[in-house]
Symmetry: C2
Subunit: 245 residues, 2 copies
């Protein structure tokens, strides 16, 4: 077993593989199943050599806009926020921010590569009769395009957008929305997996079992969210299969 529990200065929660009775898995999309670096590479084709900077600003602004609008109870969908984040990044970097440039770069957000470990993990979970879903801040259209482009047919009927609840993660109302979608399962029987630590904290606070996939090789889970830390840390999705055996 290569997965590890999240251990810090204080003891971790009591979760252990031995008593893990999970019936459904929910995966976040961006940075969890889908590789944001492929967005950066796409942006690099539009503005050569600037893809990583564009990604950094777009991602920071997407999160800032989504959280700000949630706190102000003024929801706007993620397609709009993403386009405006791209526009902001291009203006900030003094690059062409014509509608055409924005649309070209936005297209990269709909055509991301899934991480290499995703397809096998989903097949394994399907074989093991686990219910699997994806839950994201992206709109339904954005998620459908992602899933189609990556050929992840197992997620085709099970991609759920926060848009149905008109709020963003980590608002508890967002997690309630995916729980409603998975009405046959109790939340303690759902393992929620995300690469974003604010999403991990939100899912944990809500009451899911939570796995953090540390895609960016962060040295430690954010100490500022330590009371909302995940039950498990994975470096690779194949570790989930091992954990559930």
């Amino acid at each position: 077993m290569t997965s590890k529990k999240v251990e810090r200065k204080t003891p971790p929660t009591n979760s252990a593989a031995g008593d893990l009775d999970v019936q459904a898995l929910v995966f976040d999309a961006y940075g969890t199943l889908f590789d944001l670096n492929s967005f950066a590479k796409h942006a690099d084709k539009v503005h050569r050599g600037r893809g990583n900077e564009i990604l950094r600003i777009v991602r920071q602004k997407q999160i800032e806009y989504a959280m700000t609008r949630t706190m102000l109870k003024k929801y706007e969908n993620f397609e709009l926020l993403t386009r405006k984040a791209i526009q902001f990044a291009l203006k900030e970097l003094r690059l062409s921010s014509s509608d055409e440039s924005i649309e070209k770069i936005f297209s990269g957000f709909l055509h991301m590569n899934a991480y290499k470990d995703v397809a096998d993990c989903l097949s394994d979970l399907d074989e093991a009769n686990m219910h699997v879903a994806m839950f994201s801040n992206g709109t339904q259209t954005m998620l459908d395009k992602l899933v189609e482009y990556a050929g992840l047919s197992l997620l085709a009927e099970e991609s759920v957008s926060v848009d149905g609840a008109k709020t963003y993660k980590p608002d508890p109302k967002a997690y309630s929305h995916i729980l409603t979608h998975l009405e046959d399962y109790e939340k303690e029987k759902i393992l929620y997996v995300s690469g974003n630590t604010w999403d991990v904290a939100g899912a944990k606070s809500f009451g899911f079992r939570v796995g953090w996939i540390n895609r960016t090789r962060q040295p430690i889970f954010d100490e500022a969210l330590y009371d909302l830390r995940p039950d498990f840390e994975f470096s690779n999705l194949s570790e989930i299969g091992t954990l559930l055996k």
Copy 2:
């Protein structure tokens, strides 16, 4: 008059200098009155050449932590979040993150330079019998140290922390807290000034008159928050005096 209204694709709000009946001004602290670049310079003394990177990560994480914990209704104070943000930044950059390093860098957050235009602006407002206050996500101790270090005695009795409301801007409950403190004034008679666009949006949504001081020379106000844009944009605080005449 050098100040300008915020003009975009659609018409700005109806505010104009001519009908501006303001009786009190509230200033945000970090990035508005106090120069975060002086924090970067301080951090640079601890980890030479890395100050700007440390600032970028600390600032992003402070905001992410504060917003996440607000959405989850799990408030922790800004002193704790700032120390954890510094710790995160040091670990992320693979720099020494000993308690001593963290404390040395944290000290830079208490000893920031005020921008050059601050002292004169506060004196002018005081002479014009304007009520002036500072309102920040920082704790009372953090704010008191900032004000003392910068010698801004006019703010000594008028620095207010969100800590009294146990929530963070841009939560409307935070702005309610400063309004309670300014009980003699109606919110339409208060001009709220901030350099942070999410704070501008929060104050505008709450109902204050709002000025955005564009300290970072952003090309435009964030379009994703366009419906919550400021009434005025300033490049320098001296423009406020001109506006109020």
